[in-house]
């Protein structure tokens, strides 16, 4: 295993590091967060509490963490990647054993002082570990089945643990996030096509098995599928959120109903509007123009990351940036697809905009790693 890391210049001055930070990325993050605060103010009924101030504190803390991680050399993170992964895995197992039940799912770990959500840690830790693996093996051999066993284990262990929490949404995102690294590392497309066919096969068997003796899912799970396909079939049950969210977004129109004037929002027509459905608030009050701007800002972050991933010379840094950026992409696109009725309600918050400390922290940690890779992943010119 020959590594290229020694070619990198680890002796950057602090000022040099700061200069190398991708400030466009930081700017985009801050802009989106500001939009988030404005929205939380509206969700709070025109009040800084209960959402804005706590979120502002978490964001400030997150910024500090981001900068801190960014300034630490990427070689250190590379060296610690399996340790981080291992700690994340231990925490996930602990959740299973001593986790706090919340809203029917066991996702939180109470450490006395803070409650943490290990699946959030795992989102980052898994990407680092898989990126580490692919940065160390010969790129020409990545498609060999034997070389695939270890990374698939790295991915499937946390996916399995998160799935049984149960947190289907996060499990799928972890799976796809890991898959993206395999994809960019050059694993043969046949594997992916195979997996896609298997997925389609699974979906078909689930659907046709309904009502037969070998029915694969429980009846209530089928009803959820029905609700997704036709929310009007259960307008006051689980279809309610989708319907009300679509009404909120649609009624916003081109220019929106005005800040604090969203009737759907201010009259509490949909639940979880400060978390998963916050985009509906924004779209209702600010209209199509601003919803598209948000979409573009999110894409701006992803595209800047992909650009940096192509620019950095260090393979680990590239893979890390792509993996984390793709996770970020998956989060916001699944959330937007969900609130617009494109995708089932899976409980994925909108990164940077939704209220929530754990997700924000893990996101800022991700950006910290991305910045670290951008700072340290290039040779000094």
């Amino acid at each position: 295993m020959t590594l290229l890391h020694e070619e990198l210049d680890p002796k950057l001055s602090l000022l040099g590091k700061v200069a190398r930070i991708n400030w466009i990325l930081v700017f985009l993050i801050i802009i989106l967060s500001l939009i988030g605060f404005i929205n939380l103010y509206s969700v709070g009924g025109g009040s800084l509490y209960p959402w804005v101030i706590p979120q502002l504190q978490k964001f400030s803390f997150g910024l500090v963490i981001m900068v801190g991680i960014a300034l630490i050399p990427i070689s250190f993170w590379l060296a610690s990647s399996y340790h981080i992964y291992f700690i994340g895995l231990i925490l996930l197992v602990m959740v299973e054993i001593i986790g706090v039940r919340f809203m029917g799912a066991q996702r939180w770990l109470d450490l006395g002082i803070v409650q943490i959500q290990p699946s959030e840690i795992m989102k980052v830790a898994m990407v680092i570990a898989v990126a580490n693996y692919y940065s160390q093996i010969d790129p020409t051999k990545v498609s060999r089945p034997l070389y695939l066993i270890f990374p698939i284990c790295l991915i499937m262990l946390p996916v399995g643990l998160v799935f049984i929490q149960p947190d289907l949404g996060t499990a799928i995102l972890l799976l796809v996030g890991g898959g993206v690294i395999l994809f960019v590392s050059g694993v043969s497309l046949f594997y992916f096509i195979g997996v896609i066919f298997m997925f389609i096969g699974a979906v078909v068997s689930v659907l046709i098995s309904r009502g037969t003796s070998w029915q694969l899912l429980q009846d209530y799970q089928y009803r959820r599928i029905d609700t997704f396909l036709n929310p009007d079939s259960d307008p006051l049950g689980s279809g309610y959120q989708i319907i009300q969210s679509k009404i909120a977004i649609g009624s916003g129109g081109l220019t929106g109903k005005g800040f604090l004037n969203g009737t759907q929002t201010q009259l509490n027509f949909f639940p979880e509007k400060h978390t998963d459905f916050i985009f509906s608030v924004l779209a209702e009050e600010f209209g199509l123009f601003w919803s598209l701007i948000i979409l573009i800002l999110f894409f701006g972050i992803v595209l800047v990351c992909l650009y940096e991933a192509l620019k950095v010379q260090d393979r680990f840094s590239s893979l890390l940036i792509i993996g984390l950026a793709s996770t970020f992409f998956l989060y916001f696109s699944v959330n937007l697809a969900m609130v617009t009725g494109f995708f089932p309600v899976v409980g994925i918050p909108l990164p940077l905009i939704s209220y929530g400390g754990s997700a924000l922290l893990s996101l800022m940690i991700s950006f910290g790693f991305i910045q670290s890779a951008i700072i340290h992943g290039n040779k000094d010119k």
Binding site: S185, K246, G253, A337
Partner: protein, 647 residues
């Protein structure tokens, strides 16, 4: 170094290709999301805006204040008072009985009331609040609020309740209000939305019912935002309710009260009119009921007691009662005869106490007979035989035609529900309704206001009003609505010859003011206010031949329900008639002895608009008047009676 085909460079190239592919996929997904947003927010936005509107807008009605009812002098007859009430929304709990039992520990509901409420709940949609108790004290309301969590569906509120300051005295005419019944809700679709206001009441009887729409007013409405739970968040627009119209009636509440006092415990009815505009001053019915019991929802025991009272307190006697008018009908027969031209003022007939015709014998009330009876004497002494003779001459058709011109047989044009039309019989009617052909005896009976003839107290009063004015007097009961005076139509002439009319009136004057007149004892002695009238005694039972031989049993010796009805109508002053009064005392006995003195007392009280001065009574009965007043607990000699203060 990029050209080198090392594994690392290969990996790098592959990575770049894959990153572009990945970016392309991501942009495609982004494009789809963007497309979706345009679809929702630009193309379909109208549909969603409509959905958002229907989501958030709720409507509510604000009940209007019911209009006031005042008498001709502005005295309040029906008003609204603030009160607290407790309601129950059945759909908010499954343990209805338990909740009601818990509530009853605070606001005292009897077991039967709870059963009644549970029945009511079954009959109405479960989201409609049911009124549990009205007139609840503030203390109880606070206690209920404190126990709110344990009492799901229990609400308190405040609003106005109808109050009738005059109590029993006017209850038949004014009526009362109550919660609309299911039938009434079906009939008034506009009421449905007001149902959510548990104390919204509608007029059930009398004036309250007749003018319900005007008294009710127009409800205001509120448009408000509702949240996802349907709870009102804020009022968007509201239109204030328009209070119902205030109605001024022609009634004189004080006079009515005095009427009730004079009637005492009789089962009776009185109707008094002012001839200037046809104003109904008094329409009194005895016994009465308390309309205030209904405002708060009458208890079933109170209601049952009223229903079981054999004297039917709910019956509006002056307007809905039907009695044989007896001798008060003789004016009609006499006028019909005079107008027919078949007799003139010089017509006389000899009364020997009975009249034989078509093989039947018809008796005069005075078995000794009246001797030679002329037109005036026939009314003065109320000779039956004279009228049998007239009837034989003119026949039933002329009598019936004259009776109808004077308002018999049709409902008086008063805006009161449940008026009786009485009955003017003729050949056709008897064949259609009894299935027998008309016989001479029927004509004989009709001529003296017996047999099939039926009339209400009001109709007798109206007949007299038309008689003394020679105009087709129309009674009116409403002076103004919201200060706007009702139109008073010019009355048509009755088209009766003045000469004939005066002959009839002279007979009535004689009945009171000449000795041997049937109501001579009920005359007045104040020259400013001399009155004229006609008594009537309507037979309730049939007097058998044997009884006539041994002498007709005196009323006082008969059981109450077999005694005759005492009837009287009078007007005054005779020079320039202004007031008419009619009254019927059920099973009161003789019209002259029972009804006529009451008539004098009331028409004098009307004329003087105060307690009549003693000088207006014949000297020999003044001591009785003093005694009566002492019994009423009023000063028998009022300090300074002012003559004709009403005019």
């Amino acid at each position: 170094m990029f050209g080198l085909d090392t594994p690392i460079a290969k990996g790098k190239r592959k990575l770049s290709r894959r990153v572009f592919l990945l970016g392309g996929i991501q942009l495609a997904i982004g494009g789809l999301i963007g497309y979706r947003l345009v679809e929702l927010q630009a193309w379909d936005t109208d549909d969603f805006q409509e959905l958002a509107e229907t989501n958030r807008i709720g409507f509510g009605l604000i009940p209007p204040e019911r209009g006031l009812i005042v008498d001709r002098k502005g005295l309040l007859l029906a008003q609204n008072e603030q009160e607290y009430w407790v309601t129950f929304v059945p759909e908010e709990t499954h343990h209805r009985r338990e909740t009601l039992q818990k509530v009853s520990q605070i606001i005292a509901l009897s077991d039967e009331e709870i059963e009644g409420i549970l029945q009511e709940i079954d009959q109405k949609p479960s989201f409609i609040p049911i009124l549990l108790k009205e007139n609840v004290t503030w203390d109880k309301i606070t206690e209920l609020s404190v126990n709110g969590p344990a009492l799901p569906g229990i609400y308190s509120g405040f609003g106005s309740v109808r109050y009738y300051p005059q109590g029993n005295s006017l209850s038949h005419l004014i009526g009362y209000v109550g919660s609309p019944s299911l039938v009434e809700i079906e009939a008034n679709s506009d009421l449905k939305s007001l149902l959510s206001h548990p104390n919204f009441k509608i007029g059930k009887v009398g004036i309250e019912k007749a003018f319900d729409l005007e008294l009710r007013g127009t409800p205001g409405n509120k448009k408000f935002e509702v949240n996802s739970l349907g709870r009102k968040v804020k009022v968007l627009t509201s239109n204030n309710p328009v209070s119902g119209k205030n109605i001024q009636l022609t009634l004189d509440a004080k006079l009515q009260e005095y009427t009730q006092l004079v009637l005492g415990n009789e089962v009776a009815s009185v109707f008094i009119m002012d001839l200037e505009k046809g104003d109904v001053l008094v329409s009194a019915s005895k016994p009465t009921f308390d309309p205030n019991l209904f405002s708060g929802g009458i208890s079933s025991s109170d209601y049952q007691a009223y229903l079981e009272n054999i004297y039917s307190p709910f019956f509006n006697r002056p307007l809905a009662g039907q009695y044989a008018p007896g001798s008060t009908f003789k004016m009609i027969t006499l006028l019909a005869a005079l107008e027919s031209g078949l007799i003139n003022e010089d017509f006389t007939f000899y009364c020997n106490g009975s009249y034989e015709i078509a093989g039947g014998v018809f008796h005069c009330w005075n078995p000794k007979g009246h001797g030679t009876v002329g037109v005036k004497k026939s009314l003065k002494e109320s000779c039956d035989v004279f009228y049998y003779r007239l009837a034989e001459i003119i026949g039933i058709e002329r009598i019936a035609e004259m009776a109808r011109r004077f308002g018999f047989g049709s409902k008086p044009e008063l805006p009161i529900p449940d008026l009786s039309s009485g009955l003017v019989p003729d050949r056709e009617w008897k064949e259609a309704n009894i299935g027998q052909s008309w016989v001479v005896g029927d004509t004989m009976n009709a001529a003296i206001g017996q047999g099939f003839v039926l009339a209400s107290t009001a109709q007798i009063g109206l007949m007299l009003a038309r008689l003394v004015t020679n105009k087709k007097v129309m009674p009116r009961i409403v002076i103004s609505k919201d200060g706007k005076e009702e139109n008073v139509a010019e009355w048509e002439s009755m088209g009766i010859s003045e000469k004939n009319l005066n002959l009839v009136l002279e007979g009535m004057v004689a009945a009171l003011n000449e000795q041997k007149g049937t109501a001579y004892d009920a005359r007045t002695t104040d020259n400013d206010f001399l009155i004229a009238g006609k008594t009537g005694t309507s037979q309730v039972r049939r007097i058998t031949v044997q009884e006539r031989e041994v002498g007709v049993t005196r009323n006082i010796d008969l059981p109450w329900e077999q005694r005759d009805h005492a009837i009287y109508c009078c007007y005054g002053p005779i020079q320039k008639p202004r007031y008419v009064a009619s009254l019927i005392v059920e099973h009161g006995g003789s019209g002259s002895r029972v009804a006529a003195p009451i008539g004098r007392e009331l028409i004098m009280r009307t004329f003087y608009d105060a307690l009549p001065p003693l000088r207006a009574y014949p000297a020999e009965i003044r001591s009785q008047i003093i005694e009566m007043r002492l019994n009423f607990g009023i000063n028998p000699e009022p300090p300074k009676p002012s003559a004709n203060s009403r005019a």
